[in-house]
């Protein structure tokens, strides 16, 4: 009788308690930091070497008197839940690049294969040039819109040979064009900064670029420029969760030497 009552008391499915705890804890943390962010508390993003290298790359172009190229890859339609955020982050970074270019007077060429992202890109560039007090230097011709993967690739490779850009930014959601463009840029000796959250393209960007933003770093870099309190708040929340996990792993790692299953049993709850 008592046993039956106990069974009725259980409302959480066995083995899923810990998952629920993680879920709720994450949500609380996300919410708290989003709230604080909206209240005006600043959440810093750590120094990311690729971001710090952007002015260097643009300075290099200014010295050499050559243009700078930016492209977000073909994978991301803005409506796609996995690729879209990458492109949005990339466009935020483009805003920063554009301001630096406007400051130094370097020519910027944007190759944009995603039709849905076109209006936003134009708006971002216009705002950036306006903010630097050089609205007359912005022209929609800076954005080269090419649909389809192979025409896009052909156009970019042709551009590399013709204009020999000093610095390339390959930041966004990529498919295999990352290999081809990374190689093309390397062959003309360009300084390259890459970034993507698509694991399948990361190795190619690492092998061909001087600096790379990996996975979440891309979103963090984007948010550090757009100052979006929602994204920054969530990032801080994620970080706290990661630190908790790290602490658990350190404890568990040490307990492992004593062969104590205490923590493992807790996690299996």
């Amino acid at each position: 009788m008592v046993k039956k009552e106990e069974e009725n008391m259980a409302i959480i499915v066995e083995g899923r308690g810990m998952a629920l705890v993680i879920l709720l804890l994450s949500y609380i943390l996300f919410y708290v930091f989003m709230y604080l962010g909206r209240k005006g508390r600043e959440i810093p993003v750590r120094t990311l070497p690729p971001m710090a290298a952007i002015p260097e790359g643009i300075g290099r172009a200014a010295e050499m008197g050559r243009p700078v190229m930016f492209t977000p890859g073909i994978a991301g339609d803005l409506n796609d839940p996995t690729q879209g955020p990458q492109v949005l982050a990339a466009i935020s970074i483009l805003g920063y690049i554009a301001r630096e270019c406007a400051k130094t007077g370097v020519k910027l060429d944007v190759f944009m294969p995603i039709p849905t992202a076109l209006p936003l890109t134009e708006e971002t560039l216009r705002t950036a040039y306006m903010a630097e007090g050089k609205p007359e230097e912005f022209s929609p011709d800076m954005i080269h819109f090419i649909a389809g993967q192979s025409p896009y690739l052909t156009a970019v490779l042709g551009y590399f040979q013709r204009e020999r850009p000093a610095t390339n930014f390959l930041i966004g959601g990529f498919y295999y064009e990352s290999v081809v463009m990374g190689e093309g840029g390397n062959t003309i000796g360009a300084f390259q900064i890459g970034g993507t959250a698509n694991t399948h393209q990361m190795p190619f960007l690492v092998a061909t670029c001087d600096y790379v933003l990996l996975a979440e770093e891309l979103y963090a870099a984007g948010a550090s420029i757009s100052k979006d309190p929602d994204i920054l708040g969530c990032l801080r929340g994620e970080d706290v969760m990661k630190l908790i996990l790290i602490a658990l792993m350190i404890i568990g790692f040490l307990l492992g030497f004593a062969r104590s299953p205490a923590l493992i049993n807790v996690l299996r709850w």
Partner: protein, 280 residues
Amino acid sequence: MSEEELTFWEKLARIDRRVFYWILFIGLMIPFIRPIMFPISISPSTRDLYEGIKEMVEPGDVVVMNIAFGVSAWPECMPAFVSCAKLFIREGAKIIIWGSYYDVDLTYEELLRRAKEDFAKLKYGEDYVYLGYYPNMEASVAQLGSSIRSIFSTDKYGTPLDELPMMKNVDKATDIKLVVSGDTGDCCDYYIRQWRIPYGVPVAEIGIAMLGSSYMPFYKSGVLFGMSVGVRGGAELEKLIGEPGEATIRMGAINISHILVIIAVVLANIGYFASRGKRR
């Protein structure tokens, strides 16, 4: 002299990329004319897949083979998938085949063709069924776990599931012994999240080689009971079931192409350091 060396490397770096494409394409053909065979060792993940199936599947058990790869990935995924089907048939399993890639019909027909002798012993409806296509999304896979009939009320050919003898008492994930998913994308993730975790159904993966990396932590943590990595996994499975086939032959081409890639990387880096050392 050192200046000459510099120009030599520079010259090498300027070779037109098409030269490499031709070298590769022609090089890949050689093993198909004159086979290059070396012994293949079995990796732990493939062995676990093979032994897991042998251990778990009893005659009469119902298993699912999920086709989440397209016609375009046949050279990579098909050999392992076919070997796995053969293994199931030898173990006496009843097989449900369905898929989440829109050209799944063709892959199914090719599977029957390649394992013709094995499937000839079976009777459609009693020993295996083909349910056809479902959309590649998490909700569909989750719903297949709760009730197969809510997604597939009939088989591919319009026969209601209740009229198929082997499907009579099969409707939920708990009625399924195990799932083998052939993937190019993330469909196996859905089976892990919606079948393995909630219902405890063992899941194994037959994927393109890159998934061998991304799913390795799942295999290591026991979420996947086994894993076949690309065409290499196919060759290993062919060796394990004792029927060397397409993948085994293809390993010759893998040898040639991999050696070419290694030579390219090594040459590139020698050139890079030689010219960089000079510049200093």
